[in-house]
Symmetry: C2
Subunit: 474 residues, 2 copies
């Protein structure tokens, strides 16, 4: 049966496109964080939508689950097969062509396996901007960013990946192809089917191509790091920055003291730009086409200072200075990795609730595990915190023991405040039980109804997104 | 049975909230264009989500279809009941409260029956902008604009209603309530359920409240009317206007000669701002916070002139001048109504295909009906044309006879070019057969699967969106 499927797959998409040797498959069955390792019946690497369709159809007929995979850079194990070796990994890595850039319509047509950075470059070559930007942009694929509805640092201005997609081509769980690869900005002829697949984490079909939106290039940037006395100062500053930013505010990031300390410790090339230590910092950036952005930033900072919201501020006077300010924010993840055991949470709360969340949750976590280090940073404009925890100095084991309790405390607080336990990383395998536990029964019923409608036989990415056995509240 | 339902509805939501007298129901069973007239078992006017839920549950239990209705300003008969008098109209008109405006998070919470204009005013009172703008904004409701994914004149900059919705509360077809009334900009915990209901035209549930996005106010506007020699000049100008607009380009509208002639004939207060007649006109507007918009418009027009793309241009020097330029565009619909029989088409094609569409379709229509007047105008930036036809002078009957043929010719051309036969008005009753005829079998299957998953008993807005008996192409 299994060998039948393998030979049918080889016949359909070519001998070399079906990997079964464990060495060849190794890179596809473990995620890049190393937290998720599975095993696969085979890894298939189709080169066209027709080949994807053929592969999915054969798997569906054989009753074998299909795990779509882009750059394998996900953080929640969504693209890794189950450990039992019963599933086929479908890698889009050979479909990496930018098919068309249309500078009149401001659209770009691209195959799903194309790296995000390639799309950014194609947009730039046409004098345009593709604004989605992630740490993994060199490796992650467009298909993966669509399947996970990726976010990043410019969501405040440009929205998530969902808002950048105009059309999709999708192979459905039975191997049929839905051709919604349309560049239309307006099409009210029924439910917006592409929305089903964006953010579905491979559980409803395989995206093989997309039409993306392009935006005006913003070569001129004005950047500042400001020192703040509280998270509340950061949320209070948001409307002020927006007002003076005139639509050019791109970034408003928060950085806690311990995050900065870790960066300064582990990335010795960086220095604290202020003479005094502060509890909180904000990184603000405006981007546009002219020096207008510099004037707007200056006006905004003056207004902020006159309202007593700034303890200090440093404006980048050169691209190099900008890089070093941004590096303080971008270095957190790497610095934290060097500091021992880490427990990460990617959460959103309503923006107004950010100060209360930080003020209330921190002390309860510290009470549960004295010495715990709260490495708090994130995107103020989206209400999204990377609320990460580092182990007490020298005691990684303590963090590992306390992890389930700490995570539960955080998720409870997020839920009480009306937030989300996964802002931009998704559910995958990591959060499938937690996500179900914090959703209402009605919402779970709706999610399951959609899954059942599109993938009744459960071919696509089995046991992701939905718990095998679910819990639910009311 | 019917009288049982009526008394249960009265018991659940109050005697005065259940209308059955034909005189009382008249305004709810005919649409405002007068093209669609139905008949209802009752019109119910609940005052809360709980009352909506109770009414829907009772109808579902009785096997009676529910037709949700907002301001009854739709253009495709989507909110009007069937003629057989078997359905209940559910009017949201009593749920008209703006519950909250949050200037930090830039969000607004509103009940579904609130008029769009009320939301615009609430945003303005908080120094913010709610950018959706429609001719019917004084009467149409937020629930209606969500159910139809409304568009309008600022889509180029701000997108459709879909892009302005953060959260929804929805009564499902069985009377349960899905509470997705969240203000979160990031929430990747499963399929984005709200997307199902946006643009679903009342066929999946009843939206009772929404969280909407607010944007920076743009009090300063720079407006010009330009004369063009072709549609191609309008599409060629688009990237140039965007480039110089620096993200502040809000409007880029196209107006054909015959549209302007009708306006000048029927709205005698208006005058042609140019000394010569031209075949095509473009209305461009930038909006922002400072005189920057004036400078940007000037630069853009200079660049356009230096490339030979402009035949002439007039820049509004005062708010009154702006009004009179915009009135040329806004007056088309009214002027056309005074000119006799009209056949309207709300279509999109890929932006690059606009010139070809206009060049190829016009002559074939004129060949089919000599004397036909092509009243072409629309939103260049969205590829959306209101491709309207006026009868040959004095021969309304000829247009009525030719209407099915002319519409079919237009829809065929739209489909060949990869466009949509409904850009922003929706399907409703008017286009349900046509929409199915131009969709693939796979797409129709997906649409039906979603309907079946969420509303298996067909309670919500029966016989809208989907044809009773469908045609499909391959």
């Amino acid at each position: 049966m299994t060998s039948d499927l393998l030979s049918e797959l080889r016949a359909a998409i070519g001998e070399g496109a079906v990997l079964t040797d464990p060495t060849d498959m190794a890179a596809y069955v473990t995620d890049w964080t190393g937290s998720f390792t599975g095993s696969a019946l085979a890894v298939v690497r189709p080169a066209s939508t027709a080949e994807v369709a053929a592969a999915v159809r054969l798997c569906a007929e054989a009753g074998v689950g299909v795990v779509p995979q882009g750059g394998n850079t996900g953080l929640v194990g969504g693209g890794v097969p189950d450990p039992d070796g019963s599933q086929v990994v479908l890698s889009l890595g050979r479909m990496r062509r930018v098919r068309e850039v249309d500078p009149v319509a401001d659209t770009l047509v691209v195959e799903a396996g194309t790296p995000l950075a390639t799309v950014q470059e194609a947009a730039a070559a046409a004098g345009r901007l593709f604004p989605l930007s992630l740490g993994s942009e060199g490796s992650c694929t467009i298909g993966g960013t669509i399947a996970t509805n990726a976010g990043g640092t410019a969501v405040l201005r440009y929205g998530m990946m969902r808002e950048l997609v105009l059309g999709l081509k999708v192979v459905l769980p039975d191997g049929r192809v839905w051709d919604g690869l349309r560049p239309l900005r307006k099409d009210n002829t029924g439910y917006d089917l592409k929305q089903l697949f964006i953010g579905s984490e491979g559980t409803l079909g395989v995206v093989t191509a997309a039409v993306l939106r392009l935006l005006p290039a913003t070569p001129r940037r004005a950047t500042a790091l400001v020192a703040l006395d509280s998270v509340e100062a950061a949320t209070t500053l948001l409307p002020l920055l927006r007002k003076h930013g005139g639509g050019q505010l791109t970034t408003w990031e928060l950085l806690g003291r311990q995050a900065v300390d870790l960066v300064l410790t582990h990335l010795p090339a960086l220095r604290d730009p202020f003479s005094q230590r502060h509890e909180w910092y904000g990184l603000v950036e405006l981007a546009g086409t002219s020096t207008d952005v510099d004037e707007r930033l200056e006006t905004a900072l003056e207004a902020a200072a006159s309202q007593g919201l700034l303890l200090d501020a440093v404006v980048a006077g050169s691209p190099a200075q900008r890089e070093s300010l941004c590096a303080l924010r971008e270095g957190v993840s790497e610095a934290q990795k060097s500091e021992g055991a880490t427990l990460k949470h990617d959460i959103t709360v309503p923006i107004r609730a950010l100060p209360r969340f930080v003020a209330e949750v921190g002390p309860t976590l510290l009470a549960a595990l004295p010495g715990l280090r709260l490495v708090t940073y994130g995107h103020v404009g989206d209400g999204n915190l990377h609320y990460n925890l580092s182990a007490p100095v020298g005691d990684d084991a303590a963090l590992r023991r306390a992890a389930p309790t700490l995570t539960r405390m955080i998720y409870e607080a997020v839920t009480v405040l009306g937030g989300s336990i996964s802002a931009e990383h998704g559910i995958g395998a990591l959060k499938r039980d937690a996500a179900a536990a914090y959703k209402t029964g009605v919402e779970i019923d709706l999610l399951r109804a959609v899954k059942q409608a599109i993938d009744p036989d459960g071919v696509m990415n089995p046991r992701k997104l939905f718990p095998v056995r679910e819990a639910s509240r009311s």
